[in-house]
Subunit: 215 residues, 2 copies
Amino acid sequence: MPKKEISEAVIKRLPRYYRQLKHLQEQGIEKISSTKLAENLNLTASQVRQDFCNFGGFGQQGYGYDVAKLKNELAVILGLDKNFNLIIVGAGNMGRALAGYKGFDSDGFVISALFDVVTPVESINNIPLYNMDSLEDYLKNNNIDIAIITVQKQVAKQVARELVDCGIKSIWNFAPVDLDLPKGVVVENISLKESLFVLSYRSKNIHNQDEQNID
Amino acid sequence: MPKKEISEAVIKRLPRYYRQLKHLQEQGIEKISSTKLAENLNLTASQVRQDFCNFGGFGQQGYGYDVAKLKNELAVILGLDKNFNLIIVGAGNMGRALAGYKGFDSDGFVISALFDVVTPVESINNIPLYNMDSLEDYLKNNNIDIAIITVQKQVAKQVARELVDCGIKSIWNFAPVDLDLPKGVVVENISLKESLFVLSYRSKNIHNQDEQNID
DNA sequence: TAGATTGTTAATCGATTAACAATC
DNA sequence: TAGATTGTTAATCGATTAACAATC
C-alpha cells in the first residue's frame, strides 16, 4: 500500500530493519527510538523516520517505536505474513546448499522440490529431486511462488524462459547472467563473483573505512 | 589511483562492466561505444562515460572503447590482476558449496583451506579441512588475503574478531550479522535472507517493472 | 574533411539530512 | 505540565542526466 513509489534504496533497507527488530525482540527490548535504531544500523535518525513515513509511520511521538508492532508492520510490508513455496532449479553446489539451509522455513519460505538434468539421488535433505523433464508438469500441479535458479550460466536464460512460460512470476537468480524477463516477472540476483570483486576492490583501496556494513 | 572518492554506486557497477566486457570479448567483439554498453547493462551512456572518467577514461573519441583494453583496465581497478589466497571458516552447507565452486580460480581467487569445529573428513573437494584450533597457526604460516565467514550467526562476530586478531584485512561475510570491524579491515556481506526478502517485497508490489536487472 | 563518440562541465533530479511543529 | 520523540516539510548534498567542445 505504498502511496508514492518507494525507492530502491529504501526497499534494500527494509530487511535490515526487520532483522534488527527481530534481534531487539529476542533481547526483550520493547521500544526503540529512531536515533537508537539508526545507530544500530549505521543510518541517520532522519533516514529511519523518513523510511517508515513512506509506509504511514508506525511510531508514537514522545515514545518511539514499539518493537513488536514495528516488526509486524515490516513483516507485512515485506510480504512475510504469508508462506511461499519455492523450487530450486539446478542441484549443483549452490542448489544443494540452499536445499540444506534450515533458516528459510522460519520466515515462511518452503522449498518443495529440486530439479536437475541429472538425478543421482531421489532427494536432498528430504526435498525430492526430479528430472528437468517433469518441471512443467510439476509447476502445473503445484502452486509455486518463487523459483530459484542455480544452474550454470550457459543455460540460465533458457531455464528462466521455461519457468516464466510455466507461469513463474518471481525468480531468485544465482546465475551470473542478466535475465531479461517480461514485465510482471520480478527477479532478484545474488551475484557471488560481483560481490567478491567489490571486496577485492575495497581491499586495494582501503580508505573511507568510516562507514561500514552498509550493504 | 582514483583521484576523487569513488562512490559506492560506481564501485558496484564495476564488476558488471567487467563481466559484460568479458562476455563481449568471448563473442569476438573488439570495440564498443558507451551507448551500446549502457544498453547492455540498463544504464545510460552518460553514466558509463562518467564512471570510466572517474578512473581517467579509457576510450577514444570518435571510436569508442577497445574491449580488451577496457577489460584489462577494469581488472586492474578491481585488483584482479593479482592472485588472492582465501580460507573458508565454517564448513556447513554454504562453506562446502563455495569450496566446491570451480569458477573462482579463473579470476585468481584460490581457496586454500576450510576450518570448522568438527572435521568429519580430511578434505572437501581437495581443499583440506582443519580444526578451528589450528586457525591461528595456519594464518601465521600462510599468506591469506581474504577470509570467508560461513559459520552460524551466533559465532560469526567471535570468528571475525579472531580472524582480525590474526591479521586478516578482508572478510567476505555470509553470516546474517553486522560485523563491526576496526578501521583498515574491509568487509563485503552476502545476505541471502535480505535478498530473498527484497524479492518477496517485489513480488507483492509488482510495478515499476520497467527497470530490470539493476542489481 | 565529415562523422562519430569520447571526456567533462553544467543542469537536473532524487535521496539524505536538518529542522521543527505536532503530540504523546 | 515538561520532556521526548515522531511525522513531515524544507534545505542540502550527491548522483544521474544532458549538453557540447575536443578530437580521433
